[in-house]
Structure formats: structure tokens, C-alpha cells
Symmetry: C2
Subunit: 490 residues, 2 copies
């Protein structure tokens, strides 16, 4: 195989980049920081989208679409929001090009300057709340439970495929409620959907928690998050759900008449996950041979490779495959039969390992005689010879087993590198080893800042289901309400 990967132990970061490119998931484009998502990578993203979209709709949400452009003045309306986004945004200033009078191709037509510059949305709270103002008058207009699938742009200085790109794809939910309690409930409900999706589909265990003030979304009252742990011991924020209080309603003057006929500001939430999940998926399960995909998100779950010496053998194998395939499909299993004559079986084996196909079936002349097939699991790289009788049920169960197994493996890994740390000296040693460190913290931004500066670790979250025994801050010795989760993060 020409597509050799750097090993994880050699250079984890290089392994990741190699893998994304060699497994045909994505590549850098001609535009700085923007990626091309290739068909195989996009097929995984489509599965992520379809599943989340179904979960949102089952909980009463609907989709809509709001403009790509945000008038510059909108950004300023929410004071914290503007601080968070104005420094890294793409600004449209003109609406026309013209031929350079000096003959050097195209130049911006100075006559076509916009009266007010437009920002490419880094997130859509401002344009959406400016719209909601016209949609909401009474409590009868609430709740609004709206999501959009969209591209957004944040002018990041350092970019990495999927993990941090100038343009990325995401969904952003924006809901409006009559009461604080209902908005908080929505924020938590979405957090549960995100965690459920991460665990059941991505096979990726996540911690649910609340962000510290420093890590909160610009404009939120409270940011809930799911935090995952990558194989190199670094954390990755996989999704956030924000309780926005009445901040955006106040900024855009969105009021409603409540049941008791009083005027009040509307309560808001927003929440999103992005193509960053692709990075999390890759780094949670993959190995030095390539991707390991959870069956629930694999573009195809089973690949069948024929092993033959002549056309006659190929024809006989293809006939047998044509018998099996409909049985697999009837169980909802997706199958690819690769009878391409240009590549040898060994090349195909390596290729589908690289691409993380959960199950590979290899069928040769002797298998036909014996009524068997060779079944290889991508997660364990083990092989066994199995009878073709009832093979569809065997595969169906195997896919479930793989899904469970890779979740458990990731769960066990996380457990093995999650530990309590009680002194800052110990912390400085332990943080070098990676993983989640459960520590007491005095709740101040200053202490968090100091830890970040001195160790590059941040508070990933204040866990919702953690140990709530009080203690003393590992740095300052001041009282701490509960242990929080520190880690270095992507």
C-alpha cells in the first residue's frame, strides 16, 4: 500500500493529518484555512446530520434558513458577543469587480462600496434575534424551536482539518421561550441529545458539564457542553448548548405579552455541533492502520472482496455475493462489493482498513466449496471463517458488537486517564501525561487563568454528574464547592 501513515506514537498530530488526507476525508483548499470535504468524509457527515436532524425533529424542532450576511452594526448590539467575534470575521466591503485599467486582471470596483459592511456569520444569534423581533408578540407565539444547517466563518489564525477551519459546517439551534425555566430545560434537553448522539452513534463517551466563566460563549448566561477525550489524552469540546437568558432579547428589543398580560423580554437558548465532530470521531477510535468507524455512522458497513484466479471463479463468487447482499440489505446493513479488477485483494484489504469499514468479507474458491466466508473485524483486526448459512444475522450481531466494543474501549481508556489530583505540584506533573484531572478550584477566573498560563490546561467543565464533595482549591487553598475537570484541549 502506497498510503503509509505516520504512527501515533511517532507523531500523533502528523498521524491525524495523514489519516484525514489518506482516508479521503478532507484536504486543504486553495483558500487559507478552508477545507474541501471529500465524498467519503462528507458521507459520514451526512449520516451525522441525518441522525441529529431526526432527533431534533422528534423533540419538536423545525428547520429554517437565515442570511449568510450580518450587518456590521448588528454585531455590536450585544456587548460580550461583539468582543467574542469581531476580531476574527470575514468582512464584505464591495459588491463588484472590474477590469484593472492597467490591464492586471480584476480589481475591486471602488464605486461598488457597500454603505454598511457585511460580516459573514460566525454564528447567527444577532440576525436571528433581529428577525424574531417581528415574529414574537404574545406568549402564544412561543416557544420558537428553530434549527438551521449552515456554513459559518471564523477567521482562525491556526487551522487544522475538521478541528479548526476558517469555514465550517454546523447546525445552530435558536429557541425562544416565555419563561426562564423553560429555556433552561431546553438547554439541558439539547445537551442530553448531544450526549446521547455522541455515545450511541459516535461510540464516544462524553462528560456533560457547565463551562467556567472564562470558557463561556460570548453572550451566554450559562454554557453547557459535552467534553470528549482523545487518544492522546487531550480533551475536545464536542458540542455546546447555551442558556442566553434575556441578553439577546434585550439587545434586539424582543418582548412579548405573557399570560398575565405583562410585557417581558423573551428567554433564549442557542446550541450547536459542527464538522469538528468529524475530528473527534477520527481521534477517538482510529489506529495506526487507519480509520476505525462506528457501524452506526460508516458510509458502508460491510465490504466484500472476491479472491479469484480467473473469470469463472469471479463469476461464481459474484453469484454468491448477489445471493447474500439482499439479505444483508433487508436488515438495513449497507454493503459494497468491490470486484474492481485493477487492484489486488491485498491492496483492497489495506484500503478498506484505512477507510475504517467495520466488517470485511473475503470470499474465495475454497469458501464457495465449503459454504463459508472469511469475516474480518476492523476494530480488533481479527479474522474468522464463518458459515454462509444465516450470515446476515451473524453480521448484524457483529456490527452491534463492534459498536459496543469501540465505545467500551474508549470508555475504558478515558477511565484509565481520569484521576483526582490534590495539589498544584502534582497537577503540573500529571497534566504532562494527559487525561482528565479532577481537581478542586476556588471558582475564580484568576486562578483558572494562572493554571492556563502555567500549564496550558483549562477547565473543560464543571461536571453535572461529578462528585460534589467540597474541598480546597489546589492552587489557592480557598474553598471549592466540587471538583472540576481540567485538561489540555484541542
Amino acid at each position: 500500500m502506497a498510503k503509509e501513515l505516520t504512527s501515533r506514537s511517532e507523531n500523533y498530530s502528523q498521524w491525524y493529518n495523514d489519516l484525514v488526507i489518506k482516508a479521503d476525508l478532507a484536504e486543504n483548499s486553495a483558500v487559507r484555512g478552508c477545507m474541501v470535504i471529500k465524498p467519503y468524509g462528507y458521507a459520514i457527515w451526512e449520516k451525522i446530520q441525518a441522525e441529529l436532524d431526526r432527533m431534533f425533529k422528534e423533540t419538536g424542532h423545525v428547520n429554517a434558513y437565515f442570511p449568510l450576511f450580518i450587518p456590521k452594526s448588528f454585531l455590536s448590539k450585544e456587548a460580550e458577543h461583539v468582543d467574542g467575534f469581531a476580531k476574527e470575521c470575514a468582512v464584505v466591503t464591495h459588491h463588484r469587480l472590474m477590469a484593472d485599467p492597467n490591464g492586471n486582471g480584476l480589481i475591486v470596483d471602488p464605486e461598488a462600496k457597500l454603505e454598511e459592511e457585511l460580516i459573514i456569520r460566525p454564528t447567527s444569534e444577532t440576525i436571528i434575534w433581529n428577525t424574531y423581533k417581528n415574529w414574537i408578540q404574545s406568549y402564544r407565539d412561543l416557544p420558537l424551536l428553530i434549527n438551521q444547517w449552515a456554513n459559518v466563518v471564523r477567521w482562525e489564525m491556526r487551522t487544522r482539518l475538521f478541528l479548526r477551519t476558517t469555514e465550517f459546517l454546523w447546525q445552530e439551534g435558536h429557541t425562544a421561550h416565555a419563561t426562564e425555566a423553560e429555556a433552561v430545560e431546553e438547554t439541558r434537553k439539547i445537551l442530553d441529545i448531544y450526549a446521547d448522539f455522541a455515545e450511541r452513534f459516535m461510540a464516544m463517551p462524553v462528560l456533560k458539564g457547565v463551562k467556567s466563566v472564562n470558557e463561556r460563549f460570548a453572550g451566554a448566561v450559562e454554557t453547557y457542553c459535552i467534553e470528549a477525550l482523545m487518544q492522546d489524552g487531550k480533551a475536545l469540546q464536542a458540542g455546546t448548548s447555551h442558556f442566553l437568558g434575556q441578553n439577546f432579547a434585550k439587545a434586539f428589543d424582543v418582548t412579548f405579552v405573557d399570560k398575565s398580560n405583562k410585557l417581558d423580554y423573551v428567554w433564549a437558548t442557542s446550541w450547536g455541533v459542527s464538522t469538528r465532530l468529524m475530528g473527534a470521531l477520527i481521534m477517538t477510535h482510529s489506529d495506526d492502520n487507519g480509520l476505525v468507524l462506528p457501524p452506526n455512522l460508516a458510509p458502508f458497513q460491510v465490504v466484500i472482496v472476491p479472491i479469484y484466479k480467473n473469470d469463472e471463479q469471479l463469476a461464481a463468487i459474484s453469484n454468491k455475493v448477489a445471493e447474500i447482499t439482499p439479505k444483508l440489505k433487508a436488515l438495513g446493513i449497507t454493503v459494497k462489493y468491490d470486484s474492481n479488477d485493477n487492484k489486488k485483494p491485498g491492496w483492497k484489504f489495506a484500503e478498506y482498513e484505512l477507510k475504517g469499514v467495520p466488517v470485511r468479507l473475503a470470499m474465495g474458491a475454497r469458501d464457495l466449496e465449503n459454504g463459508t466466508v472469511e469475516v474480518a473485524r476492523r476494530d480488533t483486526l481479527t479474522k474468522e471463517t464463518v458459515s454462509l448459512k444465516g450470515i446476515e444475522h451473524y453480521i448484524d450481531q457483529l456490527l452491534k458488537d463492534i459498536q459496543t466494543n469501540i465505545y467500551q474501549k474508549a470508555f475504558d481508556y478515558r477511565a484509565s486517564v481520569t484521576r483526582e489530583v490534590n495539589s498544584y505540584d502534582e497537577f503540573k506533573v500529571e497534566i504532562e501525561k494527559g487525561g482528565f484531572l479532577l481537581c478542586h478550584w476556588d471558582g475564580s477566573s484568576e486562578t483558572e487563568e494562572r493554571v492556563k498560563e502555567e500549564t496550558k490546561a483549562t477547565i473543560r467543565c464543571i461536571p453535572l454528574h461529578g462528585d460534589t464533595t467540597p474541598g480546597k482549591c489546589m492552587v489557592t487553598g480557598k474553598p471549592s464547592a466540587q471538583r472540576v475537570v481540567f485538561a489540555r484541549a484541542y
Copy 2:
């Protein structure tokens, strides 16, 4: 009902705008020319997307995603392409805002000027062919059959909801082939998919044809199109499929080694339909009471409205509805039960008429006694009382009948306003009445330009399945190979 529409006869254009807004399909946003697609409108677009996506995938296409931004220099590489798009594009010149030192909010940070300006994609041929250059070396890499669902921006001066907006949503297919014949076949295959979708799902008859040079896509060798006719007698281009020859391969130097080991440029196609289809859908079927949706694209096909005097009656009706609904759903029929207590039945009837729900069931106390329900068709506005026994099969057939009926109605209308015109004097009279005029034309751009200037009519297409009897140009008397289709168009 508060939501009165302007009638079509009074002011067709105003009727359209009223309808889009009052049926909650879309509205203008705070950004000039950009629309907000509201949940009900977006739900129709999602159905359009899902169906087309399925059709593309069934014919071997896959989805991918390419950057929103196009480097300015890319636009210039294909000479005709740049002429078509440079004059109406959004230009990103900076990547940061800063606080105005004079205290007036935010200004563009002059330090954050881009070295090369970026264009928001008006269409993606250039960035995609720049990418394909690295993907294609040999005939074994071909064909590439890739589609993307994306937003694009064209800085239109006059915009109308769905029909012409600065930002719009679309799909754009970009395929690469080893031979001219294969690329032409792809272009035609997609045209057939578009026509099939328009007719079977939108219930909208379309003419398939080829564009004249004047109306051809900037950079194409040949543009195929489907042309629809709106109720006001104006034409609407509903989809285009372009054979690009080797133009973009040459512009971006994309070559491949063919089977005989010779180097050649790659052959290309591109094709797209957009949210403009929503405008076509609305204007093909709707009436003075509101939308008329084809059952195959309606967000919900059946609405059930209870008619009751007290809670007891409502409970009994709700019980009966709970019996019927699963039977309808089992046949794949989508149903909404509106037992909202805040609105009277008459208000609901008008509301669902406005929203074009194909079938309305009204159920009252007497219906319960008699084992009946009142069934109203949106397309004919007729009502009848039907037995509840086997109602699901009755509705299933009714939805099919409605789908067929509205197609036939649109087909008959088109036929009634399509006629042959043989002299330019007659043409000038007839064009005022609208419809498709089948005329002989000498094939020159000059003649087409003259007709456009003098009558505002354009050649919509040279039909693929039209009468091919030669004749003489209605304007110049020069030889004409066949009649072409003239109309005024959106």
C-alpha cells in the same frame, strides 16, 4: 381571516409577494436582497432536496463540500465565466473589525486587509476545477460525479423572494469525464432527472431544450434547460445542465492520461437547481385563496380539524382521530391534527387553505354518530362526506388524484397558451397575451437581441422534442432550422 391576499387578476406580482409572506414561506431580511426561509417554506425545500438527492445518488453521484470563498484570481481564468459573474459578486477584503477610535462602534481594521480579495461563490466551477486538478491523473480517476448542496451569492440589483435573491440555496453538480460523449450523456441524463422531478413531484410540466448562445451559461459549450410556464403566461427557467466541454479543464490545466496513454484535457459538466423552484411551485398551482401544494411535496398532506361544542365532544373526536391517524401514517401519509383551542374552525379552514394543505378532514359530533368525515380537496375546493370505513385508502387515492389533477391542469393551461406565430407583427401582438410562442428564427444573436429589445421576449429554448420542420425567420426571413420557444420570462 386577517390574511387577505391580493387577487391574481388585480395584481399578479403583488399576489405572489403576499402569498409568500402570508403562507409563512419566506420574508425579506435585514440584509438587502437576502431572504429568511421560514420553517413552513423550508419544510417544502427539504422535501425537494431529499427527492433530488435520492435521484442523484441512484444515478451514481456523491456529495462533497467545497469552500464558500473563491480567490479573486480564479474568476479570471475562464474568460467568459468572469464576464458573467465579476459584476455581481460579494467581495471579502478584510478579516477583522476593531473599535472605532472615535467611539462610533465598529470599523474595519485597516491592518487586516487580505493580500488577495475573496469572492463569495456565485457558482463553484473555478474552485472545484482547481481542486479536481489534483484528483485526476488517469482515466482510472474518471468519471468524478460530485454534487454539493450549498449557498451562493449573486449581487442582483432587483430581487424577489425565491425568484431572485442575493443569497440563495441550491445544488450544483460538477462532473469530470474522459470523453466528450460521456460528458454530453451526463448533461442529458441530469436534464431528464430535472424534468422527471419537476413533473412527478412538483406537478409542473416543463419543456426540455437547449439555450441560444445569448442565454448560455458563462463558460459553457451548451446549456440545456427545463422551462416552465407560470399562470400569468411568463416563462421560468427551472433548472440548467451545462456541457462545459474542456473549457474549465483548460483554464485550470486539468489533464489525464487516457486508455491509449495520450494526455488530454478532461471533459466537464455542471448543473443546478435552486430555491427558485419554490417560486415556480407557488406560481404554477396556487390560487386566490392561497397556496396549492402537490401532495408529493407538501410538509403535511392531510390536516384534521375537529368541530366541537364542548370538551366531551372534543375528547370523542380526538379518540376517533387517534384511530385513523396510524392507518394513514402506515400508508406513508403525513397528517396534522389541529385541536388548538384558540382558533375557530373557520379560521383554521382558511389558514390551511392559505398554506395549501392538499386534503382537509373536518370531523364533528354528527360525523361521529354517522361514522363519516367531511373531506375537502384544496385543488378543487370541493367537499364531500365520506364513510370512515377504509378512509385511509380513500385518502391515499385522493392524494394521487390531486397530484395528477394539478399536473393536468397546469399542462392544459400551458397547452392553451402555446401557439405557433408566423410573422413578427403577429408576434408583437401575441407576446402581450403571454404564453409560449413557437416561431422560426434565423439562429443569430442579433435577431434575438432585437426581439428582446423590442418586445422583452427571449428565446427560452430550442426544444429537444419540438417540430423540426424548417422555415423562415419571422423577423428577417432568413432560413430557420426549426421553431424555437419565445416568451417573456422571470
